[in-house]
Symmetry: C2
Subunit: 163 residues, 2 copies
């Protein structure tokens, strides 16, 4: 068992998301995250799928994905080098100046950013790999997390081995 990162180019039609999600759901494949967004070509979207599976299940997943008519290409990034990022926004309690200053210190030391300041709360934004984001959540948790919005992981193959 392990985590695998698949990147699929698909036709940019909303039904594709329903079909891909349905495929995983119907077969009981265990998905960690799925992120989808437009590419440079507006008719094509890229889905990044993180799946917790063994090699045999993963081969099934890839085969099933490739069978879907609107799937253009499936790339398994797991073996090689890739960069991955995710994005989080955290609304955290900040009811006085003292607490606000402590949150500013955490934000400054982690490379996060405060993007909204209200009387009793602030919204913190961070981009990073999942470890960096988990660390930020743990640092902010003691102050009281009100709401979280986050994306799934996106990934691109790294070319640092010479290409």
């Amino acid at each position: 068992m392990g985590k695998f990162v698949l990147s699929a180019l698909v036709e940019n039609k909303f039904g594709v998301l329903a079909r891909v999600a349905g495929l995983f759901s119907a077969r009981g494949f265990n998905i960690d995250s799925l992120a989808v967004g437009e590419t440079e070509d507006v008719t094509v979207s890229r889905m990044t799928i993180v799946v917790d599976a063994d090699e045999r299940t993963l081969e099934q997943v890839k085969k099933q994905l490739n069978k879907l008519i609107d799937v253009i290409r499936v790339q398994d990034l797991t073996g090689g080098r890739y960069v991955d990022r995710e994005l989080i926004m955290i609304k955290v309690k900040a009811e006085n100046t003292n607490i606000r200053e402590k949150i500013v210190q955490i934000v400054d030391s982690t490379g996060a950013e405060i993007i909204d300041v209200a009387k009793k709360s602030v919204i913190v934004e961070e981009t990073g790999d999942e470890h960096k984001i988990k660390a930020l959540v743990e640092l902010l948790r003691p102050y009281g997390i009100i709401e979280i919005a986050r994306t799934g992981k996106i990934a691109l193959q790294s070319e640092t081995n010479g290409k």
Copy 2:
């Protein structure tokens, strides 16, 4: 017609994504983007859905979403104040030092970041609202975009009106 931003708290089961995507697909609702990620409570995920619709269609969408058994709460952020962000990674051609320097200038002037450097390409990352991200893509396009991975929009209600 207009863009509406919905934020839905749902049970963190993969079948929910299939059902929500299927609901939109079956009724021909026009989705701009959908992003899903875990919240502070690991059993609950937040979906941010941007839909291009008229008021009447939007009411239908909300009603249908609320009918789904695993949907906990649907919030329409459109009327009030909210902050929204998306994340993009762009692999762009950079075949010599001269071009690389020009890309560094663009990156520095836009608040983006270079997160991977190879012999003939770099990967640029940026977080922002859709206008900021569109502007970066336009600035990098002349150099030759190889690949793009991006998330959908995530959003949280702003409390800057006093709460």
